[in-house]
């Protein structure tokens, strides 16, 4: 470990209602860790987004940023380590053992808990994916520490505590949560909530390898198989560069065709607000928002969507938000960049036509000349 234990502990300034009295045995917990999620060969992009965020926290705290890679021995883990350095990690902890080939709670929770107990990070971040949530919940319980789910903002406050902000009360409000007297401070963040960081020019870093203190025979749960999703049919909303979405304002299931037509014309993914899923007008994997997907496209066009906070938190990361709504007072105009007060049912076909004209090879030639 570093010289962390010799550093003077940070003293918490007096604060109404919350007092920080970090017990002595937690005072040498240092550094920010990001769990790198391996998905059949690839690192889940949320892990890179977290490395970007972890870098900022580590810089503020003047500590190191470490990645954690758990997987089977071989190329997959080595590639993930290289990627961790490329996205800013100073150090990567590796546990590579055959039982870590496919995700199962037991060996992963054991490996991560052992690493934490040995190397004592002060902050541990994981993606709020099915894997990340499954793992984070049991690791936090074993470590008896605080875990804040689905954060939308992470920061370090003046006394060095992690300030984890997340939506609360069905998303209508935000709250900031601290884990004052326990370590590590754990948080999960959903994919696409944080921006993708720049790759580092000449990545370097240290590797620390650990053994898994479990063998296959100790593990009760066995993987029988994996059925990959039919990729072509599944929406790739979270990572789409352009998204067109429709809301209840479209009035009828048939009108969603107008959204799909525009999406097709400009090579976009299509999505919707939650009521449409509840009505069965669109499948759940097309829902955008707090209980659906978080998106970060370069362009987002919302037609007939009011812009309720639960929808807003899912689209705020978009670079350019265009809203089409008949109600000039709709909340969506509070956070959209461009707005049109008009009937989306009539306007969408016109917009599709105008885009098609503008983007046709003929007009592109004209533009170029």
């Amino acid at each position: 470990m570093s010289t962390a234990s010799q550093t003077t502990p940070r003293i918490a300034p007096g604060r109404a209602g919350v007092k920080k009295e970090l017990p002595d045995h937690f005072k040498d917990y240092r550094h920010v860790w990001v769990f790198l999620e391996l998905e059949r060969g690839n690192v889940h992009p949320v892990s890179f987004e977290l490395l970007g965020e972890g870098r900022k926290l580590a810089d503020k705290l003047e500590v190191q940023l470490a990645g954690v890679v758990l997987g089977p021995p071989g190329e997959m883990v080595e590639d993930a380590v290289a990627e961790a350095f490329a996205y800013g990690a100073d150090l990567v902890y590796i546990v590579d053992a055959p039982p870590l080939a496919d995700y199962r709670n037991e060996p992963f929770a054991k490996a991560l808990t052992d690493l934490v107990n040995t190397h004592k990070p002060e902050i541990l971040l994981l993606g709020a994916t099915t894997l990340g949530r499954d793992l984070a919940g049991s690791v936090a319980t074993t470590l008896q520490t605080g875990l804040t789910a689905d954060c939308t903002e992470l920061d370090v406050d003046s006394d060095g505590s992690l300030a984890a902000t997340r939506p609360t009360f069905g998303g209508s409000l935000l709250c900031t949560i601290y884990t004052l007297n326990y370590r590590p401070q754990m948080a999960t963040v959903r994919p696409r909530v944080m921006p993708m960081p720049q790759r580092v020019d000449k990545p370097v870093g240290r590797v620390m390898r650990h053994k898994l203190s479990l063998v296959e025979d100790d593990i009760v749960t066995k993987v029988l198989g994996f059925l990959p999703d039919n990729q072509s049919a599944m929406a790739n909303l979270a990572y789409a560069d352009v998204v067109v979405a429709g809301g209840l304002g479209l009035g009828a299931a048939e009108n969603l065709q107008l959204v799909k037509n525009l999406a097709r014309a400009i090579g976009a993914e299509h999505g919707c607000s939650r009521p449409l899923v509840q009505k069965g007008w669109m499948p759940a994997d097309r829902q955008i928002g707090q209980t659906g997907k978080t998106i970060r496209p370069k362009l987002y066009i919302a037609a007939g969507i009011s812009g309720a906070i639960q929808h807003r938190v899912g689209v705020e990361g978009a670079d350019l938000i265009v809203a089409i709504n008949t109600d000039p007072n709709a909340p969506i105009f509070e956070f959209a960049h461009l707005g049109i007060v008009t009937d989306a049912i009539r306007f969408l076909p016109a917009l599709t036509e105008a885009f098609t004209r503008r983007l046709s090879p003929h007009s592109r030639d004209k533009l170029a000349s």
């Binding site: 995700y103 007297n181 009760v220 749960t221 994996f226 049109i340 885009f355 983007l359 046709s360």
Partner: protein, 283 residues
């Protein structure tokens, strides 16, 4: 087979309003419901009982009025209901909640027979954390099967269970051991409506009420606010953006005109999009 299912009474968050001036939650008159995700787990538990026999016990931790949710669950067909209620539980975060529930489940095991399966919903609609299920599994040392879309088979003799679980990018097929904890995915089951007779019976049935002491919890420092490592410091409304959307004038103009202006506006603000859109559309 004995199945324990944890449910939570939650405010119907679709009906929660935030006070426009004070930014506080207006809870008055907001109806409560059983956390919708828990109903899929309850239905799965009842289906398993239909096939394998045995009993279904519903458990909730909450204020005395959470008894209503338990009665509803009895109305759906659960055999027994346990309400864990004590002022010491107030302010519990997920760690403290999973502690209290796991102690109560252990007590249920001693009193009514050891559970083979403990169910929870995928997550709650008020907390949205999905952390309580894994917390309970860890504390009771049950094998943990989260985001289960389907229980393929259960063999009570060999104590084996096979499930399909939602994973990133696909479905994982797992074989594990009983007892286990399962968090059930939504839309996995058509929720049955209890019969009128069941509902009438449920109204008259006894709900078992346990305090912390009744559930065998002697370490109260692990409950409620004191047992919660997370502290909520601040609750606030999201800040509005400085300016409202730039509005495109629609008065007395044709739709094509407006559309052309919008596209021009988009491409002025984000010139790089022109290539992208043209490229993506494959024209």
């Amino acid at each position: 087979m004995h199945i324990v299912i944890c449910i939570k009474q939650v405010p119907d968050s679709a009906q929660i309003r935030v006070h426009p001036v004070t930014n506080t939650i207006m809870r008055q008159g907001v109806p409560t419901i059983i956390n919708p995700y828990d109903l899929f787990a309850l239905e799965e538990a009842l289906k398993l009982r239909d096939v394998h026999g045995g009993e279904v016990t519903v458990l909730t931790m909450g204020p005395p009025m959470a008894e209503d949710s338990l009665r509803k669950a009895l109305g759906y067909g659960a055999d027994r209901a346990v309400l864990l209620t004590d002022r010491y539980f107030a302010g519990s975060d997920t760690l403290a909640t999973s502690f209290a529930l796991s102690q109560a489940i252990a007590k249920i095991g001693e009193t009514f027979g050891r559970p083979d399966i403990v169910f929870t919903g995928k997550q709650t609609i008020d907390g949205d954390t999905a952390q309580v299920g894994p917390g309970i599994a860890k504390r009771l040392d049950l094998s943990q099967l989260t985001y289960v879309a389907k229980i393929a088979s259960i063999d009570l003799d060999t104590r084996e269970i096979e499930v399909a679980r939602r994973a990133e990018g696909g479905t994982q097929l797992l074989k594990s051991r009983l007892p286990c904890l399962i968090t059930m995915l939504e839309d996995t089951n058509e929720i049955r409506r209890g019969s009128l007779q069941q509902a009438l019976c449920a109204a008259r049935r006894q709900v078992v009420k346990w305090t912390a002491a009744d559930a065998g919890i002697d370490d109260l420092t692990r409950c409620g606010l004191r047992g919660s490592p997370t502290v909520v410091k601040r609750v606030f409304a999201p800040t509005a953006r400085a300016e409202r959307a730039a509005q495109i004038d629609t008065a007395e103009r044709g739709l094509q005109d407006i559309a052309d202006e919008l596209i021009a506006d988009i491409l002025t603000r984000r010139p790089a999009l022109e290539h992208e859109l043209a490229f993506n559309s494959g024209t």
